[in-house]
């Protein structure tokens, strides 16, 4: 998760594979719809792995029957944020589950600088390690 293998952020499902085509995304969406999961589209320009909550693009989509509408919305989001990370999440609203069941990236910036390891010297010369996204050195909206 924290590596920058092939200069690509690997978060969520399918992230070690080449980017999904629209046909493949549609197939994944159909799978989720078939299970009765609600699908949401989220975007961010801060790819830090602990940045769990991304911005939602529109409302989560309940009660849909076909993937075409979601793909339309994904394309809208790509048009609005062409160089942000965009991911699709499926949410299972079954009582007792109520949690995301799928999450995969459908859009990523052309150039992903990745993460650096930051060493912080604390008391007694102990070292604390953390990772830092090079992209977030710039301000929001100018990162990619």
């Amino acid at each position: 998760m924290m590596t920058n293998y092939n200069r690509r952020v690997t978060q969520g499902q399918f992230s070690f594979l080449p980017d999904l085509t629209d046909t493949q995304i549609t197939a994944q969406l159909e799978y989720a719809l078939g299970k009765g999961w609600a699908i949401g589209i989220e975007y961010t320009d801060d790819p830090h792995p602990r940045n769990t909550y991304w911005e939602m693009f529109g409302n989560p989509m309940f009660d849909l029957r076909d993937a075409a509408g979601i793909l339309m919305e994904i394309n809208n989001c790509r048009k609005t944020f062409p160089s942000h990370y965009i991911r699709v999440t499926a949410f299972d609203a079954t009582r007792g589950v109520e949690s995301p069941t799928m999450s995969y990236i459908v859009n990523r910036p052309k150039n992903e600088p990745g993460f650096g390891l930051v060493r912080q010297e604390v008391d007694s010369r102990a070292i604390r390690y953390t990772i830092h996204s090079y992209a977030t050195d710039k301000s929001e909206g100018e990162r990619y």
Binding site: G58, N59, M61, D63, L64, R65, D66, A67, A68, G69, I70, M72, E73
Partner: protein, 301 residues
Amino acid sequence: MDDAKTVDLQAIVRDSNVTEVLDQLDRELVGLAPVKRRIREIAAYLAVTRARKSLGLEAAPPSLHMCFTGNPGTGKTTVALRMAEILHRLGYVRKGHVVSVTRDDLVGQYIGHTAPKTKEVLKKAMGGVLFIDEAYYLYRPENERDYGQESIEILLQVMENNRDDLVVILAGYKDRMNTFFSSNPGMSSRIAHHIDFPDYSQPELLSIAGRMVDAMNYRFDAEAEAAMGRYIGRRLTQPNFANARSVRNALDRARLRQANRLFAGIGQGQPHVTADALSTLSASDILASRVFDTPDSADPT
């Protein structure tokens, strides 16, 4: 292109089971001859388009948006449901569900509310049929700031760009739909099929009543059927007659009166009722209607 190549048109029709739906339509819907003919034509056209496609005779996907005009209760919604089934079987819509909406579901209440609302509905209808009842309400010429126009524009855009994702069916009264189309030429030109639903005649309505009664597991006794015929004859001439819907309402009221009659029977020493009595509508249940209050010279009673 090899002109001698053949394709089994019959196999396409057979595999899609479309004749089954068409026959069901013929069987279950009374009257509506022009509508049924038109739907057969559309089904044939779609089957031929598929045959052409299998031979590589590519053409732009057919425009399937439709407009159903007719008076209330003439079966527009019912036919729309069947249409979705036909389109689904022939593979023109992927899921074949019908999303039925009116102005309220599409048009928002303040600036910026309409577009997301309309888009939401369109997304739900993707892969199926979007049925817009009383579509003429979308356009309100008397208020130039009405948000209906915005909704129409989004609809037009999706009708054009996502032609293979959804089919839009507009429905409404004929004259008001004509006004609607004349003020929205873009809408009119994107709708290929205009289907007009004729009013039912009296015998057709009686036959519909018979089917409804069957479906509700009731039956008419001999006099009740004649009474229903007379009821329909009188109701036809009254204002606000809504064809099959009025018949349904009349039957619901007759069931109410029948229940009341059986209930009253308890007090008169008839505590036990047979299944037969429970499911029989008698003439008195129908003749108690307000329709018979005014004397009518055309009626022989």
